[in-house]
């Protein structure tokens, strides 16, 4: 595995070089698609931070990404590529929606929301454990297992949305009947962000930070990620730790799925692309942060701003908003390339 969690100053400098290269490349792409790069970058900034409403959108995109990043920090630490995180987010959203549909007319809204969150956590965790079980007992690499389960999860959503959970009247891929406002998370006055979401995200990342640093479990994950064989010979129960890492990651991804259904700026229903690629985005975040929980926090915020800000490219310049994704992808690739070059050129890697 090419990931190294400890970074010195010179390496951060190299990263900065990577970012400059990435931005230059993005500029070229923007030029090619007929936009002035500086204008486009300004638009993205404006689109992310131009008003408190826009900032609120960024915040609501940020929390799911932050939750997923927190989970992925655990699996990456153990050397696992949890590509299945996207499906785990979806299963969280599906479980939450299921509980809410079943209980919305019988229990008070607060109780429904809490039960939905617990269901989402279990749904995501089980979906992730499945990846772990397939890996450990079925010898299916977690990348393939996760990818397969992603497809199943999204097909399941389509089936539910068009079938059992369809809107009264006509079935539509735009999703299930939206839940009424009492089943939305409460927001700040005048700032459409829920303190509950933000708190959950920050608590999650703080726990992961502390867990990796100060617990035997975190240290064992680190050992497993760096050398599975040695860890096993030392008497560490590698299977249990790996399953626990998957389970916890899935739980956090499931919680992100819950936020995507009940969050303030969510669409308040289940729809086929409910995970919005936030799970994959979180993989990029953690790679760019080089497995640092501290850095994952601002980087996930930064990525959320690009995602939301680039919507303005479509609205104001008739450019495709997916250019935001191009910028994020370029950033990560440039950083990984600089990293790779450094380790081969200076021979510090293997």
């Amino acid at each position: 595995m090419a990931i190294k969690p400890d970074t010195g100053t010179s390496e951060w400098l190299l990263r900065a070089v990577g970012i400059v290269i990435a931005l230059t490349l993005c500029g070229l792409v923007l030029l090619a698609s007929g936009a002035m790069p500086l204008d486009a970058f300004a638009l993205i900034l404006e689109g992310a931070f131009g008003s408190s409403a826009k900032l609120a959108y960024v915040m609501t995109a940020w929390i799911p990404v932050l939750l997923c990043s927190a989970g992925l920090l655990l699996t990456f630490e153990a050397g696992l590529w949890n590509i299945g995180i996207e499906g785990q987010v979806v299963m969280g959203a599906v479980s939450a929606t299921g509980v809410m549909l079943a209980l919305q007319n019988t229990l008070p809204p607060a109780a429904v929301l809490v039960l939905a969150a617990l269901a989402a956590i279990s749904g995501g965790a089980l979906w992730a454990l499945l990846v772990g079980v397939l890996k450990l007992y079925g010898r299916v690499n977690e990348i393939f297992g996760g990818l397969g389960l992603n497809f199943i999860a999204s097909s399941l959503t389509v089936y539910l949305v068009l079938g059992p959970w369809k809107r009264p009247g006509i079935a539509s891929t735009s999703g299930t009947q939206p839940f009424p406002p009492p089943l939305w998370l409460p927001a700040f006055k005048g700032f459409n962000v829920s303190p509950i979401e933000v708190l959950l995200g920050l608590i999650a990342i703080a726990f992961v930070f502390a867990g990796l640093r100060g617990t035997h479990f975190g240290l064992r994950l680190k050992a497993i990620g760096k050398n599975l064989r040695s860890a096993f010979l030392m008497g560490i129960s590698t299977h249990r730790s790996i399953l626990l890492a998957f389970g916890l990651c899935g739980a956090l991804a499931g919680l992100a799925g819950w936020v995507l259904v009940v969050g303030t700026s969510a669409r308040h229903n289940l729809f086929p692309l409910v995970s919005s690629g936030y799970g994959f985005l979180a993989i990029l975040v953690v790679l760019l942060a080089n497995l640092s929980p501290v850095w994952s926090t601002p980087i996930s915020f930064f990525f959320a701003s690009i995602t939301m800000g680039s919507l303005q490219l479509a609205l104001q310049r008739q450019l495709d908003s997916s250019l935001g994704g191009v910028i994020q992808g370029m950033l990560v690739i440039s950083i990984l390339v600089t990293e790779g070059l450094r380790s081969t050129r200076f021979g510090r890697g293997r």
């Binding site: 190294k4 400890d6 100060g214 617990t215 035997h216 479990f217 240290l219 064992r220 680190k222 050992a223 760096k226 050398n227 064989r229 040695s230 860890a231 096993f232 010979l233 030392m234 008497g235 560490i236 129960s237």
Partner: protein, 487 residues
């Protein structure tokens, strides 16, 4: 083709694998390259076949100095190597494997290749079905395939690295017949082995390597004891370990059968008592590691019993062996022992196998400092283990072991270490035996085996000689046994 290697030097980090080695092989002969494990034979042959490049030195083929930049280039120049473990593609058919590496353009002429495969195979009396998958072949058939593939590619110098490790006596006879025939046809054969009888049987000339240097070039036949002396260097008798009072039996093996992809061992029996030191001797891959792993719960016996402290461990996982007081230290210190990237303190925290949730870093640090002093590790607690020297890594591994062990299993405990480290490691080990720990270790250092052991078991091609008293044999006798005399 005449092969000449001149002043080849190759370092791996601080280890010198080949130190100014020169070698000359005449065409139409079988040349033996003899030496114990780690003598530098494989390195030298990998240099000749383009797998690795030497730091210094020249390769001369028929009076032309050549640059071996890759195995493909070497084959173009007529030099091919048969590796110790087959480097083929088990999922593909015999014919596909045969075709790989040929410069036959975009579309290979499959029909012609099929005919020529048969012709070559028939010539040496090899039976190879072109349409069988390589995964269904025996090791010996895979070697045969690789040999005729290399010949088909026009190789005139054939290097064989320990080809007989995993094949039966009949298969060996067939292989040797084919090699003699090739030599008669004018091919140059370099036969790398640490088995004395094979080298004696096949070669017309032998070069002996020890510790990366040439220790002798002899024309065969040559007395065995002379070869042994060149292989193992000095034959000075050192002070032997004094017999110590032994305690209760800690390990009983009874009729154990173990198997890996390479070999099967049957009827292993051994009883080891507290405080005893047992050495497992033999060339690498002769079965000693398989037996050691069976003792440590890392290899599950297919039959028979392994008892630790009187308890039958049948079906128990490795962790149960650990809990029963067994520890296993593999040869690869950074591959199967320590965890590169983690600090000494982190290792101490891991090795505690603590039940508590949080790590008390302060007390762990104190403990680490204590262990560093006690085990004389040159390093500080925040140092990553890969920054330590080999001897300090080995002492760290010993420091991480639980205090009270019934049985300590070690692979090559002092390999690659300087004399001082060797002494300190054995000091620590023997201290444990005085506290009642039994030790079983693998070593290819004959002096170490004779000096440190109570009893020695010699392994040869998956067979074990009955244990004998280490005080009653000489280096020469042990060397001959290891080379397969008497098996």
């Amino acid at each position: 083709m005449r092969v000449e290697l001149k002043n080849i030097t190759k370092h791996f980090g601080s280890i010198c694998a080949n130190d100014d080695v020169s070698l000359c092989v005449e065409p139409g002969t079988v040349h033996g390259l003899l030496g114990e494990n780690g003598a530098g034979k494989s390195t030298l042959m990998k240099v000749l076949s383009g797998f690795i490049s030497a730091d210094r030195g020249e390769i001369i083929l028929d009076d032309n100095v050549v640059q071996m930049i890759s195995p493909a280039r070497a084959i173009d120049l007529g030099v091919g190597m048969l590796h110790q473990d087959p480097l083929d593609f088990p999922a593909l058919s015999v014919l596909s494997n045969f075709l790989l590496g040929s410069h036959s353009g975009l579309v290979p002429d499959v029909g012609r290749a099929r005919r020529e495969l048969r012709q070559l195979a028939d010539q040496f009396d090899f039976h190879l079905d072109p349409d069988v998958r390589v995964s269904d072949l025996s090791i010996s058939e895979r070697q045969q395939l690789e040999i005729i593939r290399l010949l088909w590619l026009g190789v005139r110098v054939l290097i064989l690295d320990e080809p007989t490790t995993a094949i039966s006596a009949q298969q060996k006879a067939k292989l040797f017949g084919a090699l003699r025939m090739m030599a008669e046809q004018g091919k140059t054969i370099i036969f790398v082995s640490h088995k004395l009888d094979e080298v004696e049987e096949l070669s017309s000339q032998v070069t002996v390597l020890a510790a990366g240097k040439v220790t002798g070039v002899v024309v065969m036949p040559c007395p065995t004891n002379r070869l042994v002396q060149m292989m193992f260097g000095k034959t000075v008798a050192l002070t032997k370990r004094q017999p110590a009072p032994l305690g209760e039996p800690v390990l009983q093996m009874d009729g154990v059968m173990v198997r890996d992809w390479r070999m099967e061992m049957k009827g292993l029996c051994l009883e080891v008592r507290a405080g005893e030191v047992i050495g497992l001797a033999g060339l690498e891959g002769s079965g000693q590691r398989l037996m050691l792993q069976a003792c440590g719960g890392l290899e599950r016996p297919l039959a028979g019993r392994v008892c630790i402290g009187g308890n039958d461990m049948k079906g128990k996982p490795y962790r149960s062996f650990l809990e029963a007081g067994v520890a296993y230290m593999a040869a690869g210190r950074l591959e199967e022992g320590l965890i590169a990237g983690l600090t000494l303190t982190e290792h101490v925290a891991l090795a505690e196998r603590s039940r508590s949730f949080l790590i008390d870093w302060n007390s762990t640090l104190r403990k680490t400092v204590g262990l560093i002093g006690e085990f004389n590790i040159k390093g500080d607690p925040a140092m990553r283990v890969e920054e330590l020297s080999g001897g300090n890594q080995q002492r760290t591994l010993l420091a991480l072991l639980p205090r009270h062990l019934k049985l300590l299993l070690l692979e090559h405990p002092t390999r690659g270490l300087d004399v001082e480290s060797v002494e300190s490691i054995w000091g620590l080990l023997l201290e444990r035996t005085r506290l009642g720990t039994a030790i079983i270790f693998i070593s290819s250092d004959l002096d170490e085996l004779l000096d440190r052991c109570d009893r020695i078991l010699v392994f040869f091609s998956g067979r074990v000689a009955p244990p004998f008293d280490a005080r009653k044999v000489s280096v020469e006798q042990l060397g001959e046994l290891i080379g397969g005399k008497g098996f």
